[in-house]
Amino acid sequence: MSTRPRLLSIALLLTCVAALDANAQTEQAPLNDAEKALHVLNRLAYGPRPGDVDAVRHIGVKRYIEQQLNPDSLPMPPELTDKLSALSTYQLTSTQLYQQYGPPSFPPNTATPEEKNMARQRANKDITPQVHAARLWLATESPRQLQEVMTEFWFNHFNVFEGKEWVRYWDGEYEKDVLRPNALGNFRQLLGAVAHHPAMLYYLDNWLSSGVNTPEAKGRFKGLNENYGRELLELHTMGVDSGYTQADVISLARILSGWTIDEKGMKDGAQQPFIFNPRRHDAGDKLFLGQTIKGSGYQEGEQALDILARHPATAHFIAAKLVQYFVSDQPQPALSEKLARRFMSSNGDIKAVLHTLFDSPEFWARSNYQTKFKTPYQYVVSSLRATATPVLNVKPIDGVLNQLGQPLYGWLTPEGYKFSEEAWLNPDALLRRINFVNGLSNGKSPIARAETPPPAPGSAPATPLPNSAATVAVDPQQLIQTLTPTLAPHSLSTVSAAPANLQVGLILGGPDFMKR
């Protein structure tokens, strides 16, 4: 702890003047090479795997950051791409999923409750585990770690909830084709791709929204639905209390009326799920954020997205969120301002903004080193990486994320999961984390064992899959080396004095590894 003091703990130790002096000195000291390597692996990636700290030190943090900002420069391991290609439903398009996994609750809504239930069960069984596996394999194994980190960041920013009916069918493609390819790209493109994707159109109800008294505003599609318009302003772009009014929300909903899902076309195989339905679009002129938008059909929506992506409030809102994710729970106004300016000057180039962030003194300040409390997802993924535990069964990971309060794709409201210590640090959570990592130490974790399907009636018992039993116990010395310099000297000596069979659990379950 003495090498990584926190302001709070110093304040508590005011009586101990000598210690305060020592801490004050180290607090100013710049990070050394090993600490810098750990820092980028913790912030741009989901923590080090065995050998990663040395590898980053070898090429230097600058080069590591450049590589991460240019993911295409990093080749994907063939085993990983092969595994992903073998996920049959994960490779299907939204239309194919729609056709193959019905019947839906879409109009005319003729499916019986039993049929709907069966469809739901099939989707739970065939689609969801593959979406989860893809996410977890990429998070633990992809060399393009920053792309994965930013994919998760944008998923939370543009959150959809797996449990809302049809979102389950489409959230995999949403992440694969909308979020990941744009994660380090241009914000306007990302925003547009999100706005057209059926997962978002469905989740925030815009597919139902119709201009008042338009010819096809009937039945389920009867009225204007403000849900998406409101969240688009409040959560996706400008942020709450940034100057827009209720009238702007209504204008935006009118502008986007008729942006819907082409469910009829999809039934006939249309590969583009998005459709603009002019017969449900409010054709009048709209006043939006002080500008008149001429009634011009589909183009109005693109125009509104342009305005939002260029709005200074959007730049500031995204900048502050990035600072919270990458630097500190405490606001860093100067850095946020700098990032917002970069966002505007680069027309929303996410890579350029992150470049500025990773160049900033705040990012490298000792006071912001090893201070972010990991979210459950970060904690679980980083412990799998540190112990090189292969993900052969996602069910136990789903289980632990559920227990820790952060199920994958499981936040039901549109603001997504928080990334702050306040949201995640609670007493029971620490004990659950400790119990979880102790299960990783002996190499017998169910995560590292493929599920053997139950034998068909009358057939011989299934033989275990070849890759299911090979993991070995985690060596505490190796783990310490993987994570160095994560552990403070005090922690190291406590761990070394403990019985050997507890050491791995202590390394991963102690306060040092709870933070990044």
Partner: protein, 446 residues
């Protein structure tokens, strides 16, 4: 749907009439404002059955029952929208039987019929275990209650009920957590206890919440329960201020849970009684913990399986099979609370009610109004509260659901104020869009 405007509209149009719940005491018959329902129904029904006059029951007059003086509250959330019209059955209205030919709970006195409560309302027979509490004046219902938001989405409606801000998507915390933070400060990590794996929306927020695993495995010792293990971790955490406190709080809560488990297993062994099943395992544990530790002021438990779109049954069947263990769980809870039952109000609630009419599959779909249940030593029970809107075609919400005449926050705000003794300024924080100006004192406490 335009939720926020809807709320605003409702707020305006109803401050005078619809939403203000009426606290009813004494024996009450049909309010004069509902004559058209009866007038319309009478000609059709006269020959077949005679409707009973609306009656809300007469609360048992009794003195306040003393406990230890520390108010406690437990919320039992029925996720999936329980069919309130088959829980508290309006058996006095023939419209009920007309709308539900296959799934109505038959009249009191018939086989598997409702347990009569007021002459007009009856209780589902599977809830028989609760009848002594009704008769003893410790069980009450607020009928036609719920959220003013029109959402029929489970997740959205639950979210609104748990944040206590219907129509508002981005409320950060749940109302039970806000309640914790406005109560007298305590250093105990166990002021609120939730049963289940994660902290539910209703309890998320700033204030510390302990959660307790459910089922028989909950108190199976884990690695961290071994003293030599948790002492080693304590040494690791000793030098980290924030995490160290959380760690120590976690261990002390865990020790309390384990101590309770060993003593209760002892007790069970002594009595030679088998452990209760399902929900009762958890509610007995919750009851004992709350009885023995007055620091625990709030409890929460969620029970699922109420989304009865198909074959829900009548006095028997699917819904009955769910209600029976629920009643057992609640009576177990009441019993295990012991003397603290007098300090406790148990609230049973669900995100919305179900359609008035039976659907084509012997079930019911997502509706609107429901009944809230109140159970406690000082609940002014043996009465139905709220204002019954009627169930003839004109009275239904959107022509299909029981209408709502009592905002769920009116019930919760009354409990917060009168039972948990939370003062006016703090009430604003508890239900932000539903301030003290809206406070509707429902007279359901002794």
């Amino acid at each position: 749907m335009n939720r926020r405007d809807f709320i605003r509209h409702l707020g305006l149009s109803t401050t005078g009439a619809i939403l203000i719940p009426v606290g009813l005491s004494g024996c009450v018959v049909a309010p004069a404002s509902k004559p058209q329902a009866k007038a319309k129904a009478a000609p059709i029904a006269a020959a077949v059955v005679s409707d009973s006059p609306l009656s809300y029951g007469s609360p048992l007059q009794r003195a306040h029952a003393a406990g230890d003086g520390t108010p406690r509250m437990i919320v039992v959330f029925l996720r999936g929208a329980v069919d309130g019209l088959n829980v508290v059955v309006p058996h006095g209205d023939h419209n009920y039987y007309k709308a539900r030919p296959g799934i109505a709970v038959s009249r009191p006195g018939t086989q598997n019929g409702a347990i009569d409560l007021t002459g007009y309302f009856g209780l589902h027979p599977a809830l028989q275990a609760l009848q002594p509490y009704w008769d003893g004046g410790q069980l009450a219902f607020i009928h036609a209650s719920g959220s003013p938001d029109m959402s029929r989405s489970h997740f959205e409606a639950q979210d609104y009920m748990e944040t206590g801000t219907p129509g508002q998507h981005n409320t950060r915390d749940g109302w039970m957590n806000r309640m914790l933070s406005v109560m007298a400060p305590s250093s105990s990590p166990m002021q609120a206890l939730t049963l289940g794996e994660s902290v539910p929306r209703i309890l998320t927020g700033r204030a510390v919440v302990a959660n307790m695993p459910t089922g028989r495995d909950a108190t199976r010792p884990t690695l961290i329960d071994r003293p030599e293990v948790n002492q080693t971790y304590a040494a690791l955490y000793a030098q980290d201020a924030a995490l160290g406190k959380s760690y120590r709080d976690g261990i002390s809560a865990r020790k309390e849970l384990m101590a309770d488990a060993s003593s209760s297993e002892q007790k069970a062994a002594n009595n030679g009684a088998p452990l209760p099943n399902g929900l009762s395992i958890d509610t007995s544990r919750l009851g004992r913990l709350m009885r023995s530790n007055p620091d625990i002021r709030l409890g929460f438990i969620a029970v699922g399986g109420w989304d009865t779109h198909t074959n829900q049954g009548n006095g028997n069947g699917q819904l009955a099979n769910r209600l029976r263990p629920l009643a057992d769980g609640l009576t177990t809870l009441a019993r295990e609370l012991g003397p603290a039952f007098n300090d406790t109000v148990i609230v049973v609630m669900s995100e919305f009610g179900r359609t008035f009419r039976e659907n084509g599959n012997g079930g019911t779909d997502h509706g609107h109004g429901n009944a809230m249940w109140l159970l406690g030593g000082n609940v002014r029970g043996r009465s139905i509260y709220g204002q019954w809107p009627g169930i003839d075609d004109n009275a239904l919400n959107e022509g299909r659901d029981l209408a709502i005449t009592t905002d769920f926050r009116a019930v919760l705000a009354t409990l917060a104020e009168k039972h948990m003794r939370i003062g006016d300024p703090a009430m604003q924080k508890l239900f932000p869009q539903y301030g003290a100006g809206n406070a509707h004192a429902l007279n359901f406490l002794v």
